[in-house]
């Protein structure tokens, strides 16, 4: 009589199966971890780029309209210019004067804590935080950078400013790449 061999799972089969399953699980876990990191990094990158872009757009918006003077009363586009602070003026309501408590006088300020703020009257609106670089530059009619003393440009020097530049660098934590922006805006003057 022939003896029938019993089919079943042996110890070796179990060990091999378990090893394969653990390997697959490890790969999946690694993939999930990587995906999570990519997701976090992608979100941070997107937020950094958005923040930098919005800050630049706000600055450009105010700089472009600086000196708006429909009544031709002599509104100066700039009333204050330091490496960390610039103040624009404009006669937006066309009443021939600048209301310092309104958007007609708008300051952009780089603070020591890595923040760029837009200041109107007593209201301060943070535009960007976590900046590793934030500075303003001023160019004359030849495109040459004007040396700015710590106290800021004198009224005579302010009259010679033809363009204002904002340099911005945002380095979010956990990201290797940084978000850099430089924008140069020409000021309009009656010349």
């Amino acid at each position: 009589m022939r003896r029938q061999r019993t089919r079943g799972t042996g110890l070796v089969d179990l060990l091999v199966g378990t090893a394969l399953a653990l390997a697959v699980l490890s790969v999946l876990t690694a993939a999930v971890g990587t995906g999570a990191r990519v997701l976090v990094a992608g979100g941070a990158r997107g937020e950094a780029e958005d923040t930098a872009q919005l800050a630049v757009e706000a600055f450009t918006f105010d700089a472009r309209r600086a000196g708006w003077d429909p009544r031709a009363v002599g509104i100066a586009p700039l009333v204050e210019a330091t490496p960390s602070r610039v103040t624009f003026t404009a006669d937006l309501d066309a009443n021939g004067a600048v209301d310092a408590s309104s958007e007609e006088k708008t300051a952009h300020v780089c603070t020591g804590v890595g923040r760029l703020s837009r200041i109107i009257g007593r209201q301060s609106l943070p535009l960007a935080d976590g900046l590793s670089r934030c500075a303003f530059r001023y160019l004359d009619a030849t495109g040459t950078a004007i040396a700015v003393p710590a106290a800021g440009l004198s009224p005579t020097a302010l009259a010679g400013v033809r363009a204002v530049a904002l340099d911005l660098t945002l380095l979010p934590s956990g990201l290797r790449g940084r978000a850099d922006r430089t924008v140069l805006v020409a000021l309009r003057r009656a010349s």
């Binding site: 997701l39 992608g42 872009q53 309209r65 429909p70 009544r71 031709a72 937006l92 009656a190």
Partner: protein
Amino acid sequence: MSRGATVLPAALVAVAVGAVLGAAVVEVGRVEVALAGRRRATVDALHAVDGCVAETLAAVTPAWDLSALLVGPDGVVGTPDDGQIALPAGCTGRAGPPPGAAGPPRALVTVEARTRRARRSVDALVGLAVAPGVPALLWLTGSTASETIAGTMSLDGADAGAPPSHWAALAAPDEPETLDAWLALESGHVTVAANTVPPLVAAPPPLAVLAARVRAASPAGPEVLVPSAPAVALAYVAGDLTIVDRRQGAGLLFVDGALDIHAPFDFTGLVVASRGIRIASGASCTVSGALWVGVPTPFAPSLLVDGGLALRRDPTALGVADGLAPLPRRAVLLGIRDLG
């Protein structure tokens, strides 16, 4: 329960979590790409509206006021078309007077530009340039296409001052590429000095109106052109003027016809020849200041240079001429503000 039965659900959970994460990554990427596209579209629209404003201003004929922008196509103030302005394709807008006193001349132009994915609009405050004329040595009424220089032409727009004071070699109602190509084509006869600014696109000079203004200012005649030591004067010549012997002049010379030069001719200031200038072989014309040239009637080249024509920048010459008879000024952008 065996170990395999534990691992399988765990693997399935990991796969599910991985799928969710993958979908989240894709969604984040999709949103960022969409935002970037939107940002780019708005920036493109902003550039488009800026371009509309720049082209509109460049098309305005230099004048003594901004009525060309304000009175509409019929040229009559107080009619329904007041404020209608010609704008480049893709732009719409109107012009009107700004609030406040009438002077200095100003116009408020509202322009909207539409691109494929966005639109932007701005208010532009337009005024007249402080400096008279255009910052160019040679201002042509017609296209450069018909101009041929057989002799020599020297253009030196460099100023000892800062670069903004440098002038362009020429200004004409041509596309920039056409002007550059003409200078390149004539390079064997035309010399452009270093620091001279590339050619400008400009509407034609308003010579007819300027002639009327000069006539009204009690000008002298061609007698102010003397062999040496000329005095600054306002001179008007009705019809053609032919220079047959050495002459010099200063101030503003308006030749309401063709200026025909057969001898050395030196002038400091502004020379206007409403029907072209001809310089015979062996003759020379040197202008320290600017030369404005109209088109002959019937049509012919406005520049017939068989001799030598030399134009060089003189920072005070045009100002002196402007003092003798107010010159037209370009429309310039005094201010701009984004509306949305």
